[in-house]
Amino acid sequence: MNNSPHVHLPISVRVIMLKVLVALLPGIAVYVWFFGAAILVQIALASTAALAGEAAMLRLRRKPVGLFLADGSALVTAWLIALTFPPIAPWWLIVSATLFAIIVAKHLYGGLGQNPFNPAMVAFCVSIIAFPALMSQWPAVGFTDFTAQVRVIFESQSAQDAVTMATPLDALRTSLHTPEARATVAGILGSHATFGNIGGKGWEWIALAYLAGGLWLLQQRIITWHVPVAFLGVLAAIATVFSLANSDSFAGPTFHVVTGGAMLGAFFIATDPVSGATTPRGKLIFAAGVALLTWIIRTFGAYPDGMAFGVLLMNLCVPLIDMGTQPPVFGHKNGKKEGKP
């Protein structure tokens, strides 16, 4: 208490987390507009599960429950899980996935600040491996009736085909991977009901809303430019190269950037400070790696989107990236450090 500094910027982990939640609001609003209020149910389920799991773990770990619950980090994890899951997934799926994220991916590794993996992406990957069918069950465009959606969520049974649809990425991949169809990217995008002007129908607008929220986070200095720019830039660059070489089999950069989890990931997931790289160059390498893996998994992999796997795989590399990208210290830019006591 007696040592300097005696003044402090009025900022806290809580403020940072609340700003991240606020920045997600435009995306959520557009989501509701296009796909109905089911997403709000999912957010509520995930939030409740996250707070309950967090409180239980804090109690077990004998940490001050009120202090850590108020930091808002569990809510951010919960909202990101809800936004990456199908909005009509059964209630138990999102609850168990969120509990897994909070209990295993966060608290068993030491809680806030200690988790090497992004908890939301752990939840996504665990669920898509364990329940691939449920995780591919997305609402069809136009299926916005709230009571019908709530019935699908709570009546633990597969939704009718009439109300579900593959995601744009899934649709494109499946069509391209069916050789007898001899489909081209342009042909698929033009024919399928799931596609809109530049990406997925509705999804492209949600992505743009995420972009708006992300830019606000940048302006608020909650995140730096490195991760979004490197991620979107590298993703667009690879997509450009391949679509220029073979536009029939590879989707273009615009499609990649506004589809799937790209925009949400660029500003809200890959920017997670705890599990990401911290040095400026490290952030660029980290985000470029995520982008590369995302594109590879999207294009050649078995899963519709590669964002979650890309993030987890790059999380693994963070200690190495940080170690290798330490920037030079003031006065030591031309040589080695020679710090001596």
Partner: protein, 567 residues
């Protein structure tokens, strides 16, 4: 010529709070009844006391002689009587004690005979000696002896002289007021410093939130060729020596190197002013300007004698009722005083009354979320969050590798940390632990060396003794054999004994007894059971003696201060 400015990375912009204390002119603090003048007030060795209790001193009389060249003299701030020369608590974060001269003021303020010097006719070496003997040290806070900073470095010469009037720390305005009111004196000091260093150009850096100071300094320096007043952007810690040098010249001075090695040197404006007084007027450094601010009714600046009790000084500004602690220095780098009856030293630039409302206690410390705010704020371009992990884990090797000693403890990282982590405390802990380890290692190394030398010496002596003994025995035998041979009438056979040893008669019984006694003596010494004159006393007496011994050791401890810690 308009110097193009460089920039340093990081930094923060805390609320300045300078207007409160910058309004009123510098006031003269009343003469205190009693002054406590610490002998060690600069980096380097502690000056030796030149006065004894009971002795009368004049204002400006030398009471502490610089020990060697790496220290600076101490003077009586006023005339009066020396009451004591004893260890007293210093204004230091750890409540360190050291030798102080306690003077009772007689109220006459009788000066010694002041001898002005014409600096144009003196050699730089002679001028540096005058500065050392006048006790001139850096008044920006580091109190590094100025005469040492004026020594030419590796490049041979100081080309650029930087005068630091940035005063970046919030609340503090002593340099601001000094520049507004005594710009001419500062200008004269700058001329002397420039003469000693034979510097080609002088850049006076002042943060652009002090327009009056900039105007006053420009007016005072208008006629000086090659001297330029440069407003620098207001961003803490722009007044850090290395940061200001970087901003004005683009040169980055790494930890462990001095500006002179790069042809540049930096002095505070108040130091320049005291250089002028020391040379042109012959006055040693016995007072300084102190900002009184914070939770007070009448904030302002006072000129206070070194040794004035801090609480007496703060009373001049009338601290408000809810003041709960007193901070020496600014809110970014200052420390809360363990007691307020401690003396003002040459380093004391500001006394801040603090209250919970003004400097609210920080919230609970949360885990680091690696957000990187500290990295963006660090002016030393370190990775504070990494240093935090290493310091916390006591992984000192890694902390050093990541440059912990480049940390200037400016507090920017802790200022911006959303997790309320007291980062600087962790670095202070790591640094002091490493210094302690280093000291222990040095002591252990010295002990090991001593032990090895002793072993070598003993072995050598043993071997020499054995050789001598062998020679003696051989010689004795030879002599005996020779006698026998002579007796037998046969010629003596040539012997292998060393020729320089004189033949001696064989060892007789008496000699053997002497040797045995000597060996016994050595044995007792080795075991170390030399009886002492205290061994036959009663347990009570022995306990008393132990107590006295402990007190003596304590006094010895108090009398010396660790050499690295600047006061």
């Amino acid at each position: 010529m308009i110097a193009s400015l460089f920039s340093f990375k990081g930094g923060v912009k805390p609320a300045a709070h300078k207007d409160e204390s910058a309004q009123a002119p510098i006031a003269q603090a009343p003469l205190p009844h009693r002054l406590v003048v610490p002998l060690r007030q600069s980096a380097g060795g502690a000056p030796l006391p030149l006065v004894k209790a009971g002795q009368r001193v004049l204002k400006g009389e030398r009471i502490g002689a610089p020990e060697g060249n790496f220290s600076s003299a101490i003077h009586a701030p006023t005339s009066g009587q020396v009451l004591a020369v004893e260890a007293r608590m210093l204004p230091h974060p750890s409540g360190l004690s050291a030798l102080c001269v306690v003077i009772e003021a007689d109220g006459d303020e009788r000066w010694i005979d002041l001898v002005p010097t014409n600096y144009m006719t003196e050699s730089p070496d002679a001028l540096r000696d005058i500065l050392r003997d006048a006790g001139i040290v850096g008044l920006g806070g580091a109190t590094f002896p100025s005469h040492l900073k004026l020594k030419p470095g590796a490049t041979g010469r100081i080309e650029t002289l930087i005068i630091n009037g940035a005063e970046c720390e919030p609340w503090i305005t002593c340099d601001d007021r000094l520049m507004r009111e005594r710009a001419d004196e500062i200008a004269r000091g700058i001329a002397i410093l420039r003469h000693i260093a034979s510097a080609e150009r002088v850049l006076v850096g002042i943060e652009d939130n002090k327009p009056q100071a900039i105007a006053a300094m420009r007016a005072a320096l208008a006629t000086s060729e090659g001297v330029e007043v440069v407003p620098v952007p207001t961003r803490y810690p722009a007044g850090g020596e290395r940061q200001l040098i970087r901003v004005l010249t683009g040169i980055e001075i790494p930890y462990g190197r001095y500006g002179t090695d790069f042809g540049v040197q930096c002095f505070n404006v108040a130091t320049a002013c005291s250089v002028h007084r020391a040379i042109d007027l012959g006055q040693p450094l016995i007072s300084r300007i102190v900002t009184l601010a914070g939770n007070v009714e009448r904030p302002g600046n006072v000129e206070a004698l070194i040794g004035t009790p801090i609480d007496e000084l703060l009373k001049l500004a009338s601290p408000k009722a809810d003041t709960d602690r007193t901070i020496l220095g600014g809110p970014m780098m200052g420390f809360a005083l363990p007691r307020t009856d401690l003396p003002v030293t040459k380093a004391a630039n500001c006394i801040l009354a603090a209250s919970p409302a003004l400097f609210p206690p920080q919230g609970a410390e949360l885990p680091c979320i690696r957000c990187g705010a500290c990295t963006r704020a660090c002016p030393a371009e370190l990775q504070p969050h990494e240093l935090y992990w290493f310091s916390r884990a006591k992984n000192f090797g890694k902390a050093q590798e990541y440059g912990i000693f480049d940390c200037i403890e400016c507090g920017c990282c802790a200022y911006v940390c959303p997790s309320n982590i007291r980062l600087v405390d962790y670095y202070r802990f790591a640094k002091s632990s490493m210094r302690a380890l280093e000291r222990e290692k040095a002591v252990a190394d010295a002990a090991r060396e001593r032990f090895e030398l002793r072993n070598l010496r003993e072995e050598r002596e043993k071997a020499e003794k054995a050789a001598r003994l062998a020679a003696k025995t051989a010689a004795g035998r030879q002599a005996a054999e020779g006698a026998a041979a002579k007796a037998a009438g046969a010629p003596a056979a040539p012997q292998a004994a060393s020729p320089e040893e004189k033949p001696l008669p064989a060892l007789d019984e008496q000699k053997k007894a002497l040797i045995a006694a000597a060996i016994a003596r050595v044995e007792t010494q080795k075991v170390g059971v030399q009886p002492r004159n205290t061994d036959n006393l009663t347990p009570e007496k022995q306990a008393e003696i132990r107590e006295i011994e402990a007190r003596r050791n304590k006094v010895r401890e108090l009398a010396k201060t660790p050499p690295e810690e600047p006061i």
